[in-house]
Amino acid sequence: MDQVVQHKPLTFKDYKSDYKPVWCPGCGDFSVLASVTKALAELQIARENCAVISGIGCSSRIPAYTSVYGFHGIHGRALASATGLKVARPDLTVIATGGDGDGFSIGGNHFLHACRRNVDMTYIVMDNEVYGMTKGQASPTTASDWEGSKLTPHGTGVSPFNPLAVALSAGAGFVARGFAGDPNGSAKLITQAIQHKGFSFVQILSPCVTFRPEQTEWKKIIRKGEISETNALAEAMAFLATDDGFSTGVLYETQRPVYAPKQEEKYSVKDIEASFEL
């Protein structure tokens, strides 16, 4: 692949496309986009060597708003496509993105196995506890008594999913939580996540002003940087046991063997063919 020598450092604006987002005014995803582009600028990753992969949903539209390579696939499968890309092309920086419905409901199985597999890539989930694109249904992270959806008028009656706890128990080596109202803090988390060797998971609380207007109050209750980073799994788990979900920061980082099969051509196709000879 061609290597471009960057004479002038790229700024976060260089990582944004000129395409106008479909998001509602005030959507938290705008600031997540800003955080992603700031992180890429911080790390000066060549645009052509980075790919942002997503599934379906409001937040999954993010690849088109960046200027790097993008992949806007099908609902729930961002992590699978990202895994395939990174394993086939280990030279690229791969960032999977999406929402809580895409990642934890339809794509829940891939989330578990991406945490286990530990491919060197980053997964950013913009969590607004609602399906926005389909106009306001409960997601796996919605509180069980939320009665705002026509689909579940009496609340879901189902316990919400705890993404950080699931990531920890499935074996993720980097787990963090950010808040859309703190774009610089989230940019730092994303930078650290990209730098982490192995699978890194960042949940970013990203208010939905249209279907969860009460989430605009999150800015008042968020405790920035209150999570203290640990490399002890038990400590991280213990923190989550009493956590209300509104503290931000890196929760857990540890180094585990990265899944990266070597790509060395040791034999020719003819050598393999010879194995069929009698």
Binding site: M1, D2, V4, Y19, A46, R47, E48, N49, A51, I53, I56, P63, A64, S67, V68, Y69, G70, F71, H72, G73, I74, G76, R77, A80, S81, A82, T83, G84, L85, K86, V87, A88, R89, D91, L92, N109, H110, L112, H113, R117, P261, Q263, E264, E265, K266, Y267, S268, V269, D271, I272, E273, F276, E277, L278
Partner: protein, 574 residues
Amino acid sequence: MTSQTVSIAITGAGGAGVMTAGQMLLDAAAKAGLYGLMTRSSGPQIRGGEAAAFIRLSSDPVACPDDHFDVLFCFDWMNVDRFAAELPLRNDSVIIGDASAGEAPDVLKNSGARMVLVPLSDTAKEVEGGRPNMIGLGMLGEIAGLPLDALSAILEKVLKRKGQTALDASIAGVKRGMEVAGELEAEIGINLHLASKDSETTRWSLTGNEAAGMGAIRGGVRFCAAYPITPATEILEWLAPNLEKVGGTLVQAEDELASVNMIIGGSFGGVPSITATSGPGLALMTEALGLAVSAEIPIVVVDVMRGGPSTGIPTKSEQSDLNIALHGLHGDAPHIVTAPNSISDCLFTTQWTVHLAEALQTTAIVLSDQSLGQSRNVIDKPADLAFVAKREVAPAHVVDYKRYALTDSGVSPMAIPGTPGGEYVADGLETQENARPSSQAEDHYAQLDKRERKLTGFDYGQHWAEIEGDSDFAVITFGSVTAPVREAIKRLEGEGQKVKLISMRLLAPALPDRFNEAMAGVKKALVVEQTHSKQFYRYLRSEFDLPKDTTVLAKPGPLPFRPNEIVTQIKELA
């Protein structure tokens, strides 16, 4: 007198060494200059159940089972009746059993075949370290006329790791078996010795699943995501070590939704990618197959068909995934469907399909099936093929790069990540030429036309079908049923009756002009397929004009077509 072909079935309880003996017999026959085919059958047990090896040896290349078995060799009678429907016998067939194994089941006693009991276990005991399956191997080797050195050579190759003692015991067992069979041949007057031909060509022994894997690697595939499923798993298990050898990678996925999306990701990264599955897995993958069509990302899925619907008959063959392969994708999603028509053609067709998928930047499904995938064939080494992955890629620093540019061919240069200036978003959404999402009518029309045009306008050359013979009577096939049809046509030719064969390798896109060309002068047609609902016939009816006088011979799995069924049908019609 020597015969041209001999068919031998070996059955026994788990642990009797049926498959080992069968494979050694096949390999020894190949060593002796013969050709052969081995299919296998087993009970539902994961391990240790009764098993059967069906072997056909021949002086000339063979691609399908014969009408009946000449020899049924039973190490024991354990559940052998389970295989009865798979074991057509004639009055001149010989059943060989162990004298100390008790009473033979009625289904065999009433088969009309001659029954010969030999002291199999007792003979094995006479040889130090002797095992009944080696006595059996020696007997069957002698019956087929294989020389001892061919059998010894295979034993040496297989048992080298087990040490000299084990090897000596096996060779002694085989020798003893040959003696026993020699006496038997004289006693009951059977002689099935095959004449081997001196061959200059190198022989290969491989299964259809291995052949598909080899075709993928030859075609340039360097990434595979795998989720195991019977009867496709062997493709994936073969690819795992072999992709690694050529610098490729294989990932075991968590499910088929993941495996197909992983290969889309890998191929988006510029690496030719493949997965293999069977019906239930293909059903799970269909949404993503449409994504690859829409985003124009080349992928190949080998579907090794088994009995369906649902879990169906996982270990038995059927061609009933044709409908889902052709029509399973939602929306207007033109894609490629191919079908290998023999075990060796699994190599050619998979390689060609990789080439097509890459050249046309789309989804391609290879319809193999259990009878091709899991059968082992001794063939002449296939020719080298020029078909390799050759994707049209965008160079660096293109100004105003348009990923989905409306080219004449319909194929648009694809920017591969790592290429500066090519940054775009691959999308399942309908797009404009510049890859930005669009719900405008003009963009949808233009992109639909483009995706169709690139497939229908492509020159597929002569490989879209195999057309053999000339007659106003044609048999139309695809896939594994082709081999018994071919053999039936050859037999009829021997009787002076000419029949044309049209075996379609390219099922989608349909090429009506090529089909009409092939059908010129044909007044009568027979469609042969292994489905219950005549899926192939309905497909042909929907895409092409068939003669008024067209008959369908459709039979679902699990039993294979045998050449005489087709001979009988053709004679009735002609």
